[in-house]
Symmetry: C2
DNA sequence: AAGCTAACCTAGGAGTCACTAGGTTAGCGC
DNA sequence: GCGCTAACCTAGTGACTCCTAGGTTAGCTT
């Protein structure tokens, strides 16, 4: 058919298209959840049709996993980079929170994607749990090394630290979502 | 066809069947999310076929809304009942958290359903936001009335309280889920 | 300018979903 | 024991989903 002015196709490079798909997918997964985000809409927002998505990712689950892994890697990096040092713990925590906010501000959907209770599919839940656990394993030692961490957690064994992680998770999620919704 | 021993139908009262459907739906919405929970599986776990669900609820969304409203009403009641009194705030907060844990222990899926980021469908998100906001309006004043609430929140206007609510929400969700997963 | 690669498309398969129309029967009241 | 109500069913519709096979063409390379 004739390529009328409405439907003329803009052909761009592979990496550029992939970036567009990732951005659209991140936003849609964040706002609609795994099942609620359709490949068709991800493709349309990337200026493309569904089959093109499969030129870049094996499946919908593969696309989700890759986004999740990237965001968790960023989160790990933020904390690892800002939590270290010899300052008083209070200042290091404040600094880390600031850095986390800056990251969320730059990636408005990361917070929602990261801490969403993604238990839609058993398969999706498994992916999410695996990635989240590996991130927890990386961050928890930062707190365990703190003097006074045990009494703050209110327990001697590891269970208190588990609870501390859960609380931190909740705080980070809540603040990230609030941050994303407010100007 | 012959009603063989495998498929013989047990016919029970209307209220009893409705309770079974609500219990199955609550568990499935909690573990799989709104879209992930299918009417077919809700029906099967209630010992019934899908059309029967529609004898009790207008639609899937109506079923979800009714469950949500019940759980939020319970949460409001728990906090309203345990947070009052003249004890030091610290004790009242501890008491309220204990009561919340007791509730979550008795209703293992309430915590997940209540604070799940239910933004799957615009329609679902609207229902969830409406119910959650009405609950927030009921609980926030409990904190606003506290002496020292403003400085704790770190702000003079209402914005600090909004943040406090978001944090509390995140913590409650995190702890509720953790509580449900641990013995 | 011609060719070739790869970016992109149309068309459709196969499965799942919420929901409905209309018939069947179990078990209570009499 | 018998009818009648309501609890429950079978069978299907239409819409939506992920994903694929195979063809088309834009635009870089030479």
């Amino acid at each position: 058919m004739a390529t009328d002015t409405q439907t003329r196709r803009r052909r761009i490079g592979r990496a550029a298209r992939r970036s567009l798909i990732e951005a659209a997918a991140s936003e849609l997964f964040a706002t609609r959840g795994y099942r609620g985000a359709s490949i068709e809409e991800i493709a349309r927002r990337s200026g493309v049709t569904p089959p093109v998505v499969y030129d870049h990712f094996d499946s919908k689950l593969d696309l989700y996993r890759q986004l999740l892994e990237r965001h968790f890697a960023d989160l790990r990096e933020v904390w690892r980079h800002h939590f270290g040092g010899d300052d008083p713990p209070r200042e290091r925590v404040a600094r880390s929170f600031d850095a986390w906010f800056a990251y969320v501000e730059e990636h408005p959907f990361a917070g929602r994607v990261l801490f969403r209770d993604a238990s839609a599919d058993p398969e999706v839940a498994a992916v999410h749990a695996a990635v989240a656990n590996s991130s927890r394993e990386a961050i928890l030692p930062l707190f365990a090394a703190e003097p006074g961490a045990a009494e703050l957690a209110g327990s001697i064994d590891g269970e208190g630290l588990e609870m501390a992680w859960v609380v931190l998770r909740g705080v980070l999620q809540g603040l990230a979502i609030w941050w994303a919704d407010n100007p």
